[in-house]
């Protein structure tokens, strides 16, 4: 069965057809039908990007679709927005792919529709989890993750007195897959947690951190915010890391950190009194938070946003986090098969390109969500 699936998948990929109905690898068409009504506002960008494969001189066309729709339910306003985009060679690829000479690699990318939901609970802050400081739910096809952010007062690490602390914990709910039952999800959970930490928190010295830790300090060496980022995988259909990273970015964008007033104690050794305001909140700057792009290698191709079916046949996958400057903030490799160093460098340049687009879409949608929240 497994080998059959593999050959089938490979056949499909080499024909540049996605095994999912309605999701070609290189050409756009309507997303797979879902329950949610999808009134789309469509942006089509035709631009000549530098070719992804330096040996191939074909013009790369980028199609970016973004869609947002608002539906107002009786008691709560639900806001959905989604995007889907693809990069690849123009033309009718289903045919050219077959006839084209076996180039080193063909890059065929298409994200599933991402639904980032921030349900607004009556008169409160945006967020799916009302008791958290910030939260978000991201759906990527059948993958569904929830991220909640909680800020608590803590003490800075003695070796880094001018920085706050961030902890990332990911949990895989058994609802997502029976194999996560009991302690079965632990391995994946810790792997995801570590990968996200690597991508978001920068080096040991704190350089290159996506979350500005020094903004979390209240009194140097005494009081700081401890940011707890809790992720929960509710439904899993591949590409968990990208979904979680996007959810963290969105959740951080609607995170309100309470304003504090500090009364310094009489002597410098005293623990200062901290007054936490429950009315005024400070917004978090999320422009520096990187996005994660996972490129999964199936056969000779690498694809973005692999479903679990596609992941089951992958030889290896590289997750690359890209920030707004186009710098690489973290990289992890999964899967056993080795990769040629030049392929990795090539993947990095593709990820940079995809990441830029993902970033701009996420940013604009966050802005739109904020704007509409303020309107309310």
């Amino acid at each position: 069965m497994e080998t059959r699936l593999l050959t089938c998948l490979q056949a499909l990929v080499s024909l540049s057809l996605s095994p999912l109905p309605g999701r070609p690898l290189t050409r756009l068409c309507c997303p797979a039908p879902t329950k949610c009504s999808f009134s789309s506002h469509r942006r089509r960008i035709h631009s000549s990007l530098s070719p992804l494969d330096p040996r191939c001189s074909a013009v790369c066309r980028s199609d970016v679709f973004a869609a947002a729709s608002c539906s107002t339910a009786a008691s709560k306003r639900t806001l959905w927005f989604g995007f889907l985009f693809a990069t690849g060679w123009g033309g009718d690829l289903a045919h050219t792919a077959c006839s084209s000479p076996p180039s080193r690699l063909r890059i065929s990318l298409s994200h599933r529709r991402t639904l980032v939901g921030s349900a607004t609970v009556i008169g409160e802050e945006n967020g799916v989890i009302p008791q958290a400081n910030g939260s978000a739910r991201v759906r990527l096809g059948a993958t569904d993750v929830i991220v909640s952010i909680k800020a608590e007062l803590g003490k800075p690490h003695p070796l880094q007195p001018d920085k706050g602390k961030v902890a990332i914990f990911i949990d895989c709910s058994p609802t997502a897959a029976p194999m996560f039952e009991g302690r079965g999800g632990e391995e994946l959970s810790t792997e995801l947690s570590f990968a996200l930490q690597r991508c978001l928190l920068g080096g040991r010295s704190g350089a290159g951190a996506g979350i500005d830790l020094s903004s979390l300090v209240i009194v140097e060496g005494k009081v700081c915010w401890d940011l707890y980022i809790d992720g929960l995988v509710v439904s899993s259909d591949g590409n968990l890391l990208d979904a979680l990273a996007a959810a963290i970015k969105v959740a951080l964008s609607n995170t309100g950190i309470p304003k504090v007033t500090v009364n310094l104690g009489a002597s410098p050794n005293d623990q200062p009194d901290v007054d936490v305001s429950d009315e005024e909140f400070l917004q978090f700057d999320t422009s520096g938070v990187p996005v994660v792009v996972t490129l999964t290698k199936v056969g000779r191709h690498y694809i973005v946003d692999a479903t679990s079916e596609e992941e089951s046949q992958m030889s290896s996958a590289v997750s690359i986090s890209v920030n707004q400057h186009g710098h690489i903030c973290g990289l992890t490799k999964r899967g056993g098969a080795g990769l040629d160093p030049s392929v990795i460098l090539d993947m990095i340049s593709v990820a940079k390109h995809v990441g830029e687009q993902l970033m701009s879409i996420l940013d604009s949608e966050i802005a739109a969500a904020e704007a509409s929240a303020e309107d309310q």
Binding site: G203, G208, I328, A337, D340, I348
Partner: protein, 253 residues
């Protein structure tokens, strides 16, 4: 001794704390000398031996500066009963630390992150098809930690696997590089690791020119990644030579 009272390790007096601060500032400058006198692109001397534990199918001991590691390989042997049937072999990795491996006494527990990283680094190099239905266990114990622990564990594990006669595509060598401002420093010590801006670790099979594992933290430009990768790949192939000569020595001796 059921309830041990809470204890604390001796903290260094304030002078040495200042020294640490000084070092940290020093690392930000463009030119400084490393505490062990190496140049930026020079690795620590590597000492490798096979046959550390005779109860295992294969084992190896590695000493890179202060870092000391023992890896034992068991199997191929019967998989756990709960495991489902598998046509290919399984690889099971575990990394643990001794309580005295770090300057402050630790818990000496398993290191889950390193265990899974070791697994990922090795599985691509082992020909799992050669031992269907069975498991090869790779267990590592870090006797003393002095920086670059994971690369040392991975390299030592590949030597132990070769000692155990497990079929591999190629030997695996691993090297890490730290980034300080503009400088790239290869094979960092734990003191350097504590202050680094970013790190890149490569595990590769030099003869096949394949990267089996790559991790990166901190902010990097593509050009710098390029430079660091080249540096590491070069060091990996040299390290693999050392491993190879150690195996030859063991076979002839």
């Amino acid at each position: 001794m059921a309830t041990n009272p809470s204890t604390y390790a001796l903290s260094q007096s304030s002078e040495s704390k200042q020294r640490l601060q000084q070092r940290r500032r020093l690392f930000q400058e463009t030119d400084w000398t490393r505490s062990d006198g190496r140049s930026f692109h020079q690795c620590r001397p590597a000492f490798l031996r096979t046959g550390a534990t005779n109860a295992a199918s294969g084992s190896a001991y590695a000493e890179f500066g202060v870092t000391k590691v023992i890896v034992s390989v068991f199997g191929p042997r019967e998989s756990k009963k709960a495991m489902m049937y598998s046509g290919t072999g399984r690889l099971n990795c575990n990394v643990s630390y001794t309580t005295f491996s770090t300057p402050v006494r630790g818990q000496g527990s398993d290191h889950k992150e390193y265990s899974s990283m070791l697994h990922k680094a090795l599985e691509g190099a082992i020909i799992l098809e050669t031992f269907p239905k069975t498991t090869v266990d790779v267990f590592a114990l870090v006797l003393e930690s002095g920086g670059g622990d994971l690369p040392v564990i991975i390299t030592c594990a590949s030597l132990a696997l070769a000692d155990a006669g497990i079929m591999m595509y190629d030997l695996v060598a691993s090297v890490s590089v730290s980034c300080f401002g503009r400088n790239l420093v290869i094979d960092p010590t734990s003191e350097e690791e504590a202050c680094q801006d970013g790190a890149l670790m490569i595990t590769c099979m030099p003869a096949r020119n394949e990267v089996t594992q790559l991790t990166l933290t901190g902010e990097w430009t593509t050009a710098k990644i390029n430079e660091a990768m080249e540096l590491c790949l070069d060091a990996c192939s040299k390290l693999a030579e050392v491993v190879r000569s150690c195996l030859k020595e063991a076979a002839s001796g």
